[in-house]
Amino acid sequence: MACVRLGTDEFLPLAPAQVTARGLPGLPVVTVPHPIGGIPAPAAAAKAESIVESVLRALTSRPAAGNAAVTAHGAGMTVGDVDAPDALDRFQDWLMERGWGDGLPAIPPTRDRVAAMLAGPRRKREDVVAVLVPRLGRATVEAVAANAVMAGALREHLPVILAAIEAVADPSFNLQAVQTTTHPCSPLVIVNGPIARRLGINAAGNVFGQGSRANAVIGRALRLTLQNVGGARPGKEDRATHGHPGKYAYCVAENEAASPWESLSVERGFSTGDSTVTVCGSEGPHNINDHGSTTAEGIVITVAGTAGIAGSNNLYLGGEPLIVLGPEHAATVAHSGWSKDDFKRALWDGARVPLARLAPENIDRFPALDPEGFKTRPAGALAPIARDWRDIMVIVAGGAGKHSVFVPTFGATRSVTRRIAD
């Protein structure tokens, strides 16, 4: 079947990557001036006139050859070498010119450094950990190690990074969408188990902030791998309208020692001796300040009041919004005799968005995207922040203080937990 793809000019940079990854680099793309959404329907329809001749031509004439481009960057499992400038300051410019950096200084991934990263009885360097979209890049152990070196990671960090790569490639994570969406999301890596303590992954004060090497380099290595091997370059295939600071590095450990409940990994069937990573397609963290509440009932009112927002993807795409309870809030909730599930149920009941807070256009649109959740709901009824109370994720992390954070997700993504092979 002859096919033509329509888009807007703003999104044109995404098209070559998508058609190349599908093995069809010559597939014609025809664009109209951006945007087509957020404008009256007649204005969108009026844009058809300017492209109909191009579409007709593209449907009825032989496309330009483009298939040769597919193998341009190698087809095997072994990663090649590239010539780079010797001087470290020049190397940074060189890296950015190629679109391989993130703006921060990077360590050159020389053969020696990559070999040191791979030393010991580990997986073979040519093993494919995952194939990463949109580029269909082969995340071999060696390719991941090269990005890990660039990120400043050490050999002991690599097992966590490899497990995170495996996790984001699980189909339920929907990496294609997370990598290319306009929504500000990026994989949040949550580490559980003994490895978090051994590597010094911060779970306590300033857990989302700066100052911990392990958090920084694990998160950054994942990001660089997704950008370089996965081919999601900012402003090109990565179409984020804003992005968020976690797109440099977004890795925390759960504060298991300060949690009154079972950890996330135990909730998911692992033992306390297992080390795991969980990845979520997450927005940045938003603070929940509650210095007053002394009971679970009080804390949940504040958390629900923060999480029940109209502009969240989770409202109509589902998914698993995350609440990161500070240890003091968690202790207050547990002191009232509540389990983690009790808290999730109460939060799901309380965190509702009145339909009056949604624009009429969205009330028309959401039922088509979430028929189960919206179609049967009477006008004026409240929308929950997740499709089921079990979809709300709760972990305990952070240090002293009366704060928790709310982390919405992309919505059309599920968190994935993987054991770390250590």
Partner: protein, 92 residues
């Protein structure tokens, strides 16, 4: 210095594009809406103009459940069985 290529290799493979018809005379045009606002509006208008100018037999529309997920396999099969040419869409 020599560094290890941080991009690595690609698993993408090359396929051949389908032959194009010489004209749209008598063919059925498929539209695949990605469910973004106004995508269907633009596609339908392009389809109608194509039918009027190219002499197409019919224009039929399908949609994806959302922009962040692929079309169902059954939908793709139905489109392939029904239409000779197809228009898809992405972007906002």
């Amino acid at each position: 210095m020599r560094i290890v290529d941080p991009v690595g290799t690609s698993a993408a493979s090359a396929m051949t594009l389908a032959d194009r018809p010489h004209s749209l005379e008598g063919v059925t045009i498929a539209l695949l809406d990605n469910s973004k606002p106004n995508a269907g509006v633009l596609l339908e208008r392009v389809g109608a103009l194509l039918a009027a100018r190219g002499g197409a037999l019919a224009v039929k529309a399908w949609s994806k459940p959302g922009s962040s997920v692929g079309a169902a396999h059954a939908v793709l099969e139905e489109i392939a069985a029904t239409a000779r040419v197809a228009l898809t869409a992405s972007a906002d």
